[in-house]
């Protein structure tokens, strides 16, 4: 009996030793790990679109670079600054603001804490410790516009924007140019859900707007509306029409309904910022993501393979090449007055 007991106890001792070693290891590794704070916009981490992409970026950094992160979801725009300031006071290494509405807060807090690195998605702040991550949304929107025009039978195509702001108008302008490139006679309906941040979280209204467009014979709609995109997907599924997703690859949400998604690789931009900081290469300034560096693209996968024919794909690839070579200049809402 005694013998057996001893035998049982030995591995137990070993376990404790191992776990002790492990504890020491984890403590020491976390001392070296990068601490990243991610401040998400109103759509929240599970909008399966813009914010989800940013979240995927830090998740990847956690797996591949061993960083640790904390995220918060904005409930109230006025709280963003205080949140960032508290992360800075806790000496986080990198604070990432996701969305144009964070610009003001990043501007103030980054000035106050010049030793902490910041990254800002979709807006520019000109401080040496801030990396502004900008995307050429109009280029990707142009490509999915072309896809929409080639898929449309009625020649009527819809655009559904979330909040009516210049950023979303930029999507709309590029999209319309892409549609007109394929079908100059196409009619385009442009709708916006609202003028406040609530617009990113109102799928009921998005659905109603989509149904209204479908009842006017529109048969393809591109939505850039965060978590409200679901409203369009539901409407398109019920009416057997086509939808185009945005930011993340949304093709999987309703295969057969979603033609493609305009990819905005916020995940790559966020991951790169963390990676550069870890490797000591982090610099402030503006980094642009576009077709050239695959920061912007359109999504092709097993969920939309049957919807996108070979001809369509060849044509879109050709357009992509023409944009890259400068043969096609996609109109940019930000530069509309030049």
């Amino acid at each position: 009996m005694y013998f057996i007991e001893k035998k049982v106890r030995l591995p137990a001792m070993k376990k404790i030793l191992i776990s002790l070693c492990f504890l020491v290891l984890t403590v020491s590794s976390s001392a070296w790990a990068l601490n990243v704070a991610l401040v998400l916009d109103k759509g929240g981490k599970d909008d399966k679109s813009f914010n989800s992409a940013a979240f995927a970026g830090v998740e990847k950094a956690k797996k591949e670079l061993g960083i640790t992160y904390k995220y918060v979801e904005t409930m109230d725009d006025t709280a963003v600054e205080a949140t960032m300031r508290s992360f800075a006071a806790k000496k986080y290494d990198l604070i990432i603001g996701v969305g144009f509405s964070m610009a003001e807060a990043v501007k103030k807090v980054s000035k106050q804490y010049p030793n902490i690195s910041f990254a800002l998605v979709d807006a520019e702040v000109d401080h040496p410790n801030v990396r502004s991550l900008l995307f050429e949304e109009h280029q990707g929107s142009y490509l999915v516009g072309a896809v929409a025009a080639m898929k449309s039978k009625t020649g009527k195509i819809g655009f559904l924007g979330g909040m009516d702001v210049p950023l979303i108008r930029r999507f709309a302008m590029g999209f319309e140019a892409g549609v007109k490139k394929i079908n100059p006679k196409a009619e385009i309906l442009e709708n916006y859900i609202g003028v406040t941040g609530e617009a990113w979280n109102n799928p009921a209204k998005a659905k109603e707007l989509s149904l209204a467009m479908f009842s006017k014979n529109v048969d393809v709609i591109f939505a850039a509306a965060g978590a409200s995109n679901y409203g369009l997907f539901d409407a398109a599924e019920e009416k057997r029409k086509y939808a185009i997703g945005v930011d993340s690859n949304q093709n999987w949400i309703k295969p057969g309904t979603i033609l493609t998604s305009m990819l905005k690789r916020v995940d790559v931009a966020v991951f790169d910022a963390a990676k550069d900081l870890k490797e000591g290469k982090f610099k402030g300034g503006t980094v642009r993501f576009g077709l050239a560096n695959q920061g912007i693209d359109y999504a092709m996968d097993e969920h939309n393979k049957s919807l996108i024919t070979k001809e369509i794909k060849t044509k879109v690839e050709q357009l992509k090449k023409d944009i890259l070579s400068g043969k096609i200049v996609v109109p940019d809402y930000y530069k509309r007055n030049e």
Partner: protein, 284 residues
Amino acid sequence: MIALAFFISIIRMATPLVFASLGGMFSERSGVINIALEGIMLFGAFTAAFVSLSMGKELGFVAGGLGGMSLALIYGLIVIHGRANQIVAGTAINLLAMGLIPLFLKSLYDSTGGTPSLSMDQRFSNLPILFMIIALAGAWFVMKKTSFGLNVSVAGENPEALDAAGISVILVRYQSLAVCGLLAGFGGASLSLFLASGYTRNMVAGRGFMALAALIFGKWKPVPTFLACILFGAFEAVQIRLQGAEGIPPEFLQILPYLATVLVLAGFVGKAVAPKVIGIPWKR
């Protein structure tokens, strides 16, 4: 064809409003101000989506009502038993709903944003419109033809008389809040199971307050309140149809429902007289 689609769109947009404002009517006619409608709807929307995912849409709809009812009864506990200020307590309930739901979502689905989205057979296509009409007829019948309806309005006009007749004012107010929570919860359920597919963050988006405005617009009476909801639904539907039309800025269209409410409250469209003892806790 387009006219019919437009008409159906009005009814659809009005459905959650009608449920919530009829619910608010029971609460307010019994003397309890209810600005917690927004939170109650939100909670109803969440419970409906949660139950619908595992047990089907019919049970989901019922669960939405029960979820709303439970939150309304918590509100009742605070303002009827605790005799708290009803505006403050109502605001607290709204905040409670906004905080509790992400907590539940996180533990259920490891997501703070919303429930997984519902498939076509887990959500309704048109049935909630019928439920809404039944609720309207029922609310009208109860308020006009039953002794319970009479008790509710006496509790809000002259609670002493009710008490003198040997009927508990407290019980009547609890019952009214239960009915209110049930109906507002159905309103939330019709959002998550009918207008959208599943619960998403703060999806009520001000409809609870709009329902309250409709209730005042409708002078706390069932049929006028219903018509006010239809009018607000029409504003929203018109705004949706007119978007993109040249000449009318969408920002102007989006303020129409609020503009109408302000005009009513300012007394331009008849006088809105609230129940006499609304907001005053009952103390014998």
